[in-house]
Symmetry: C2
Subunit: 680 residues, 2 copies
Amino acid sequence: MTEQNPLIVFTPSGKRGRFPVGTPVLQAARSLGVDIDSVCGGRAICGRCQISIGEGEFAKHGITSAVAHVSGVTKVEERYDRIRGLPAGRRLSCQTQIQGDLVIDVPPESQVHKQVVRKEADTRVIALDPATKLYFIEVEEPDMHNPSSDLERVYNALRTQWSLDNVSCDLSIIAELQKALRKGEWKITCAIYSRAPGGGNRLSAIWPGFHDKTFGLAIDVGSTTIAAHLTNLSTGEVAASAGLMNPQIRFGEDLMSRVSYVMMNPGGEKEMTSAIRAALQQLAEEVAKQAQVPVTDILEVVLVGNPVMHHLFLGIDPTELGGAPFALATGLPLTFPAREMEFRLNPGAWAYVLPCIAGHVGADAAAVVLSEAPHEQDEYMLCVDVGTNAEIVLGSRARLLACSSPTGPAFEGAQISSGQRAAPGAIERIRINPETLEPRYKVIGSDKWSDEDGFEEEISSTGVTGICGSGIIEAIAEMYLAGIINQDGLVDGAMAERSSRIEPYKRTFNYVIRQPRVDGNEPLIRITQNDVRAIQMAKAALYAGVRLLMDKLNIDEVSKIRLAGAFGSHIDMKYAMVLGLIPDCDLSRVQSAGNAAGTGARIALLNKKARDEIESVVRRIEKIETAVEPKFQQHFVEAMALPHKTADFANLKKALTLPPIKTVVMADDEGGERRRRRRG
Amino acid sequence: MTEQNPLIVFTPSGKRGRFPVGTPVLQAARSLGVDIDSVCGGRAICGRCQISIGEGEFAKHGITSAVAHVSGVTKVEERYDRIRGLPAGRRLSCQTQIQGDLVIDVPPESQVHKQVVRKEADTRVIALDPATKLYFIEVEEPDMHNPSSDLERVYNALRTQWSLDNVSCDLSIIAELQKALRKGEWKITCAIYSRAPGGGNRLSAIWPGFHDKTFGLAIDVGSTTIAAHLTNLSTGEVAASAGLMNPQIRFGEDLMSRVSYVMMNPGGEKEMTSAIRAALQQLAEEVAKQAQVPVTDILEVVLVGNPVMHHLFLGIDPTELGGAPFALATGLPLTFPAREMEFRLNPGAWAYVLPCIAGHVGADAAAVVLSEAPHEQDEYMLCVDVGTNAEIVLGSRARLLACSSPTGPAFEGAQISSGQRAAPGAIERIRINPETLEPRYKVIGSDKWSDEDGFEEEISSTGVTGICGSGIIEAIAEMYLAGIINQDGLVDGAMAERSSRIEPYKRTFNYVIRQPRVDGNEPLIRITQNDVRAIQMAKAALYAGVRLLMDKLNIDEVSKIRLAGAFGSHIDMKYAMVLGLIPDCDLSRVQSAGNAAGTGARIALLNKKARDEIESVVRRIEKIETAVEPKFQQHFVEAMALPHKTADFANLKKALTLPPIKTVVMADDEGGERRRRRRG
């Protein structure tokens, strides 16, 4: 009678049921829907189905017997322990039979949908549920009395042993099949990809015998750098990471110059596509080598990138993105065999490219959304990814908007007289004494401030070579706070009387941060009027884009801000707010999102439902084209001014509502000077 | 009021309905489910929707008005007529509006599912319903106020203009898309493939503007020759055909020697795959050139072939087919991008390979089934495709069985002393005077018999070079009928007294058909004891296979016989029956099926439901492996004897039930002779 069957309780799920004596624990778990992993299907090979027999919890679960009733350790478990090691107290649930009432604990690493915690401070937890999964099968041998093909028997094994139906596969798999089956003595491991176009299950790879390792690559293709993370699809762990300069830099430093290259050199997109694809393959091989796995264990690639990179790595001419109406060839999510992008990984590897949001808001922005989840917020969250264009997403659970804003490359240190990339020798922090106007600064490669003892010795190998993006932001904010520049961004020549660091230059003034050392080849490090102007334009563009979306949502404040990318990681949020890069927000709720695009790619790699999620969110996002919004121009002009933001944040809004400047200053120093003065 | 709307009757369907004045006829037809074709979707471009306005049929259809009420010929119809020509009395139904009661005739060529009649004598009619169809669409232009990607707008147009959903496409299409849309001024023609793995609609090709031509290739890859038919997917017509010797012949004349080549030369299958694929590409280009269409208009390929060819063109090592248990890598129907087989047609072209039935009964046999349709017969039909193996299918609507039988290449003239392929100079018909034992014969290349005046002149250019397969069958049957060989197949040496044509040879006798001409280089044409033996073995194998299936069905007669392939086309059915190649059957119901495998491939190309049909039939077919059936051996031995089949068919069965020969004669002449004699 069922009443007399032992009672089994699984923790942490709390699922319970009665099973006849002799039932394997794995089978009991499955029939209750308890989430226990297995690749080998109960053959004591994979070791994924480990459990602990609970102790002292019987009363709590209403189990009357105080004695754990399980079968003894089997020979195959002993063998597994000898070869692969079984932690103390652990059993293989496929080998453990129920003998009496039991409390069974399923440890996190034995759960199918293990949680992958991304980073310490993060509240967003990802359940491991990749599109590619492994299944070990035993295939019937061919029988002349009942003839059928090897592939049919493989499909049959997948159906009967794993309930997998509607399976199809590529010719390349079929060509390998017979050798694999015979080498594995009619046991093979199959990788099944469950998210191919049209649906169904694709047999994407096979290995003779038992195979336990599958990896995926999450790649963020940036205009400047490409970053790849090799991720174990069974554990969610990052096995190796590597980055590479985007080789397309030789075709143009920024995005638009690369589009121009194509326009000027018909067929140039093919060169760029080849360059980027070669780099992607190189990265894949590099991370595989680091992690000591063959590239053929890489079964998936997830790619994100801004629209121009997206088009180029897909082999699409980006010319249309170079002019109005900025039409993407496609912004839809794409799933295709990775070999179509010339990847040489496992021949059956699949690629997934996240959707683009709009013509200038790419798959990288979609990945930031997936990582930061503004669509799950009750309050308004602003996500900004700053590059040559700022990709801006603002909203909440109720409504999400996106736009891009042409910030130009100033925030990255480009087109700034002493600007440079973040590298040893670059000034990254700076403070200016408002009394003496003397600067003190920190340089990448040293922990000391420039006024500390031993600073010069520490930096002697590199010298001070320039200012990186975060340094420029701080320099200009500090110049403003010290009164060296005014709200209009004009360097005050009258200050030259107070300090020789204010030096005349053509008809304007520079602020000199550092003179070259007598003995070195260092350049003169300074901020020119033009530099201030470039940063003003960049920050005005960024702010205007954000402000436009706030208008659409009819809000004046946002609750959370996430700054993604390298810029977001290095900038000091206070200074971003002093300069008015970002709108009013409690400073404690302004955070760097790190490489959120890369994180989003990794989430999409590890969880197939996350792909559905971001696809559905992107469809919902309202796309705003700043170029056709008259208010954008108005916000841009208004945002050129430098607001002063100190402890008294209330002044900020006042500062933001200065009388509009009538003429945008775009010309050379002298002309710009003239026109600006007209306004003053 | 609806009552007062005009009544419209469509012929030949008889569908009728009332529609408001001003309704386009095409629209009315669609709403009634009347089958009218259209690629352009009602834009007067494609001309596929032509109709005739019926006359004098009003009363018959209950229409009261005697006057045809239609709108006048429009400017766009006039333009269509001027440019592409409109037959007299025809209108474009998309341009013709209903003004009053009408009888409208839809001519066959305007129907979507046009019937394609295969050959005159054939009762099986195929409805045109290819997996690839064309759709002309007008795509919205990009709009900065409502940004979306070009591909999204294409999908949207397919949805709104053609109700096509769940569309996906390859990277290669996306890369072409923007140029095509702009070149076509936002009008493009899309090819949609509706039978991709997993389901859904695949956008397989695009053309700027209107494009009306799509073609498919039906290819039968035989061991000896490869035949390709380029077929227009809109009309079902064969646009061009071509054949080529299978280049694999250099790796071995027959199938098993090619398998041996692979066994002896590891990697040899790759050479053979390359050779066959190059030949397939060459054929594709040849037929395209013949038909004067670009190869990029080829959007589909359907392939059939015996299992070894099937594996080799798919890139699968056929080694396993060389020995028991003869396991196919796959026998499942396959659908994949044609480029995976290195086809260079339209880059988005799809390939379909019919299922194999069993280890030695290939996709070519499945195609024969699709062509001859034994599964639709109420009576038992036997289909035989004779090659190096005979592929045999027997059954009816209720039950279908298949097996293969190792006939060897004798029926093709190989391993016969004077044997040769069917080519000018080969004897194809022969009669022997039972009194004089003198032969008369016909040679390929001449209509005259050898005893007619002028025969020698007609054949002087080639001479008589050998005997082809059908000639050998007739020669041996005639020798038997003339008493030169007895029921055991022994050439009767005593006959040498009656005619010098019976000449001793080692310990046996030959029958000499023709001495070399004094002035020529002709060979001596004769039939040796060994030749008789080879044909006996081949026919015994064929008959034994058929007999085995008859046993399984518990029948002694079949109602219809179809002999497929070149052999079936050339053989005289009477002689096949005299020799006992085939079982008892009314001779008028024994027919050649011509190139039934090629026909089956064409059916699968033209009608996607035919693919479902043959897939389902093949799953149902009971596969019999002759090698494990003890009765096969018994039937084989019994069938070695020569039955005599004249007008009195009743004797046949008696002849078939001779006492069994104990030893199968497989050795050289002398040994064979000895052993046979032991039995006599």
